[in-house]
């Protein structure tokens, strides 16, 4: 197994006698074309294929450069946003939370109750008359402002306090409705009266 047998040596000698096919011209022509494409000589550079090749290379280079620049620009724009997100979602230490709540408490003392409610959206309390807390906007005053200035007023809207008890309000010019108003009287009698 590890030695060449005598018949194998004989086969090797016999194969040397194998007739050669005459492909030399065909192979050389093919080789010349490949050499002109891969290893061009300054004298015999075929113009068209090389121009095409260069154009293709340039186009590929331009596309790759454009892709790289786009990716870099995208990353550059995205980076600060990601940082902000991380900052916002970063865990807060217990001490910081306590300090923050203390600050909020001191703020609550100075800010009017309306704003304090706005700052605490999570604290839900039962409100008997929610309409009492909703500020009323004087739309007439706003209209007047806009007409006089012909521009949108930068002033804050006039907020009037809500008036809940309207039953006690009486207009002196309006008479009260009495039982006599509902009584049916014929027209003749009415004229007499």
């Amino acid at each position: 197994m590890n030695e060449r047998t005598t018949y194998e040596q004989l086969i090797a000698r016999k194969l040397e006698q194998l007739p050669l096919p005459d492909f030399s011209n065909v192979i050389w022509e093919n080789l010349q074309k490949q050499l002109d494409a891969d290893m061009p000589v300054s004298d015999n550079i075929p113009a068209k294929p090389l121009v095409g090749k260069n154009l293709l290379l340039k186009a590929c280079f331009a596309i790759i450069t454009a892709i790289i620049l786009t990716v870099l620009l995208f990353l550059w724009v995205k980076k600060p946003l990601i940082k902000e997100k991380i900052k916002m979602s970063a865990p807060v230490k217990k001490e910081q939370v306590l300090q923050k709540t203390n600050e909020e408490k001191t703020e609550e003392q100075h800010i009017p109750p309306f704003r304090s409610i706005e700052n605490k959206p999570k604290s839900i309390s039962l409100i008997k008359h929610p309409a009492a807390l909703i500020p009323l906007v004087d739309s007439a005053a706003l209209m007047r402002d806009s007409l006089s200035n012909h521009t949108i007023s930068t002033r804050k809207p006039v907020i009037s306090k809500p008036s809940l008890d309207t039953s006690t309000y009486k207009n002196p010019e309006i008479k009260e409705i009495t039982d006599d108003d509902y009584r049916l009287i014929p027209e003749r009698k009415r004229k007499k009266q």
């Binding site: 197994m1 047998t5 086969i11 006698q17 096919p21 192979i27 050499l35």
Partner: protein, 182 residues
């Protein structure tokens, strides 16, 4: 002999300068030496021409790696053609076999049987071998490589190389029997 060496040195110099005439001279000078080598690893003559074509492209492209002082141009170019031939066979076959053997009885073939058939018939029988077996048989029986060298070249174990040689010998005997020469 010295004149031939000087001529080859001139051709190599021209090839290094990418001179087409020198490249053609090299091709024409080595064609009759390298074409039979390419033919041994091919399925037919056209296949052999394709192997030689690719081998010559490698020769021209890597001419700067050749050192005349270290070895002959014949050996260097033959090595390139063999590698190209093996790549050609590798593209058609897998070499990783699980069957590995250390020793096997070789089927005896009488020299007279080989003498009864001509070179073309012999080559036709060898080409009928499976691609991997074909490669191992040519490398061992014709080129004279050892199993260790074949194993390194084909990236298989020595046992696998031996198994392929054994298979080649058995098949060769069967084919010769079919031809009624044994």
């Amino acid at each position: 002999m010295q004149a031939q060496e000087a001529e080859i040195a001139l051709i190599v110099k021209g090839c290094l300068a990418n001179d087409r005439k020198a490249q053609e001279a090299l091709f024409r000078h080595f064609y009759s030496f390298l074409m039979p080598v390419a033919m041994r690893y091919s399925r037919d003559e056209l296949d052999g021409a394709d192997i030689l074509n690719r081998a010559f492209m490698k020769i021209f492209k890597s001419m700067q790696t050749f050192d005349l002082g270290k070895g002959s141009l014949y050996a260097w170019t033959k090595r390139i053609v063999i590698n190209e031939g093996l790549d050609h066979i590798k593209s058609r076959a897998k070499f990783n076999y699980t069957d590995e053997i250390e020793f096997i009885d070789d089927p005896a073939i009488d020299n007279s049987a080989i003498n009864k058939i001509n070179a073309e018939e012999l080559m036709a029988i060898i080409r009928q071998l499976p691609p991997a077996t074909h490669a191992v048989f040519i490398l061992y029986a014709i080129e004279g490589y050892k199993h260790k060298e074949i194993a390194e070249q084909l990236q298989v174990s020595e046992g696998t190389s031996k198994w392929h040689l054994s298979e080649a010998r058995k098949t060769l005997r069967h084919k010769l029997e079919d031809l009624n020469v044994i």
